[in-house]
């Protein structure tokens, strides 16, 4: 259950993030989750959006360097130790993680994961009964 995540190259310059959110918001595209990774002079915005393909095209047209990246999203109870359990599974399955970010709502926590090997990651999680979130559900949260 791969999810298409939007990745956008951003200069470390005032107003860049707000411009991206203006473009997406103006087109009625909602962001479910996002994170920003940064270095001293640039950053990457990673976001789960309601219409990834449209968002890609819009930002491309606006001149951004942008791509879609496959990630997966797991769902676990918003309780102490739940994330640890999922991570143990990944560890045991030898799944390397490039980055991850999480958001929780009420009793549920969702974790977006970018593994080095996506098929391997899915397999490891599924065999241990960890719930994956489908793209339809995640996009429209």
């Amino acid at each position: 259950m791969k999810i298409k995540q939007l990745s956008v190259f951003l200069e470390n310059k005032a107003g860049r993030l707000s411009e991206v959110s203006d473009i997406l918001g103006g087109a009625g595209i909602n962001m479910t989750a996002f994170s920003v990774a940064d270095t001293s002079d640039f950053g990457i915005l990673r976001a789960i959006v309601s219409q990834p393909e449209e968002a890609l095209q819009l930002l491309k047209n606006a001149g951004y360097a942008v791509s879609l990246t496959d990630v997966i999203c797991i769902k676990c109870p918003n309780t102490p130790g739940s994330l640890a359990k999922a991570l143990h599974v990944l560890n045991a399955g030898n799944v390397q993680i490039e980055y991850m970010y999480a958001f929780s709502m009420g009793e549920i926590a969702q974790v977006v994961i970018r593994p080095a090997d996506i098929a391997n990651c899915e397999r490891a999680l599924e065999t241990h009964g960890i719930e994956l979130v489908s793209s339809d559900k995640l996009y429209t949260l």
């Binding site: 200069e11 270095t39 942008v66």
Partner: protein
């Protein structure tokens, strides 16, 4: 004290006659020994006999740096290799370096000119002169070196860099004169302060001879205050000779040119016409008396003007104003020549980037920094910080190996740098104040 009163205080008539004679010799020499010059003169319908006096100089075609490069390495030498005793190469790193060859007589001329510069700066045989210019292919180090020996002062051949050692030598040897680039002088000044030394009390420095890069009067004042010295401006370029083509005197109002060996013209860079006296234009030099690689109307791209009137120092040699910038896009950063076109060719040779770039030059503290903003190419953007950093690193190391100085590379978003569809591209933001 004046090193060579016969020349430096000569009448205009005497100088013109000497220049005219030397010009005739020079034109004869290049016409008969250098196919490049012969061809250029033939194209202009000129024979050596058409050039009688220094006023005929304007009939001759210009020589450009590119012409020297096209004849790499020894194509414009006017003396056989058996007479060449020294080779230097310019710091300009646009592809091929510019090579110059000097005969023994040329080296004598050079140390004569540097000797005049040293006397112009108030240096005598009692001084200890520390040469902090690089020794090697660059003309700065060796050029100063032989001039210092010529006047009988003691030379400390420290070469560039190793600031701690420089300061130790200045302190322990009681160095009285420092010769280096002005930005390095400021750097040394700050390092002296950091070392807890007070130049006025702890050091014997009294004179600085600085050149190889443009510097302002404000920078001169700063160096003079910080090092408690009198700072002189020495000018030269390796193609013409090296340091010592001109230097300012105690009045610090323009640089006296060794015009018996290097005849200066100020021209309008657009039209090529000679400017009126006092007008700002591009400095053009013709060598007089040089054997190894004489240059005819060599375009320096340095902007200056002739300062009219007599100098109270008593010398009658013509003065040029402190350099005012460049008529091309060359930047001089930490004494190294940088052309935006070099950056462009590096970027073009890499598939990951667009040849859209901007050079930003800053002066942080005392040293110049060069930041190069590069647009990333859309198809090479991946959701991967490591990947982007690897691209950044690759650009940096490719640029540094070509430019010869360290740079800061900044990746920027596609299509955010200014596009130049019409007119001359402005790819440089120089925040330094000259």
């Amino acid at each position: 004290m004046i090193w060579n009163e016969t020349i430096e205080c000569a009448s205009r008539e005497y100088l013109s006659e000497l220049q005219s004679k030397r010009l005739r010799d020079c034109v004869n020499r290049v016409y008969h020994n250098v196919p490049y010059y012969r061809k250029r003169m033939q194209e202009a319908g000129l024979l050596p006999g058409d050039i009688r006096t220094i006023d005929d100089l304007k009939k001759l075609p210009f020589t450009y740096k590119q012409d020297l490069r096209d004849n790499y390495p020894f194509g414009v030498f006017a003396a056989p290799m058996s007479e060449i005793v020294r080779l230097h190469a310019s710091s300009g790193t646009t592809g091929r370096p510019t090579v110059v060859g000097r005969t023994r007589k040329d080296l004598d001329i050079w140390s004569e000119c540097v000797a005049r510069s040293l006397f112009l700066s108030g240096v005598s045989n009692k001084d200890i002169v520390q040469v902090g210019y690089g020794y090697g292919l660059f003309t700065g180090g060796l050029g100063l070196h032989y001039g210092v020996e010529n006047i009988g002062a003691a030379v400390v051949p420290a070469s560039g860099g190793n600031t701690k050692k420089q300061i130790q030598l200045i302190h322990d040897f009681g160095t009285t004169v420092l010769a280096c680039t002005p930005s390095y002088a400021l750097y040394i000044a700050d390092a002296i302060k950091d070392a807890g030394l007070d130049p006025a009390k702890d050091l014997k420095l009294r004179v600085g001879i600085f050149g190889a890069e443009p510097w302002s009067e404000a920078m001169r004042n700063e160096i003079q205050t910080k090092l408690n010295i009198k700072a002189h401006d020495i000018y030269g370029l390796s193609e013409v000779m090296g340091p010592g083509v001109a230097c300012d005197c105690e009045f610090q109002n323009g640089l006296h040119v060794c015009e018996d060996y290097f005849f200066p013209e100020i021209i309008n860079p657009e039209t090529g016409e000679q400017c009126k006296p006092g007008e700002v234009g591009e400095l053009v030099f013709t060598s007089l008396g040089v054997e190894g690689m004489p240059l005819i109307r060599y375009r320096t791209h340095d902007l200056s003007r002739i300062i009219p009137g007599d100098c109270p120092c008593g010398r009658s040699t013509v003065r040029i104003a402190k350099l005012m910038g460049r008529s091309d896009d060359m930047l001089i950063i930490r004494g190294v020549n940088v052309f935006p076109s070099q950056v462009e060719s590096v970027l073009l040779s890499m598939s990951e980037t667009e040849p859209h770039y901007m050079l930003i030059v800053d002066r942080k503290g005392t040293l110049d920094t060069l930041t190069i903003q590069v647009e990333i190419q859309e198809q090479f953007f991946a959701d991967n910080i490591k990947g982007l950093q690897a691209v950044e690193k690759k650009i940096k190391s490719n640029l540094e190996s070509v430019l010869g100085i360290s740079v800061i590379v900044q990746l920027v978003e596609p299509k955010t740098l200014q596009r130049f569809e019409q007119g001359k591209a402005q790819r440089v933001i120089d925040n330094r104040k000259f």
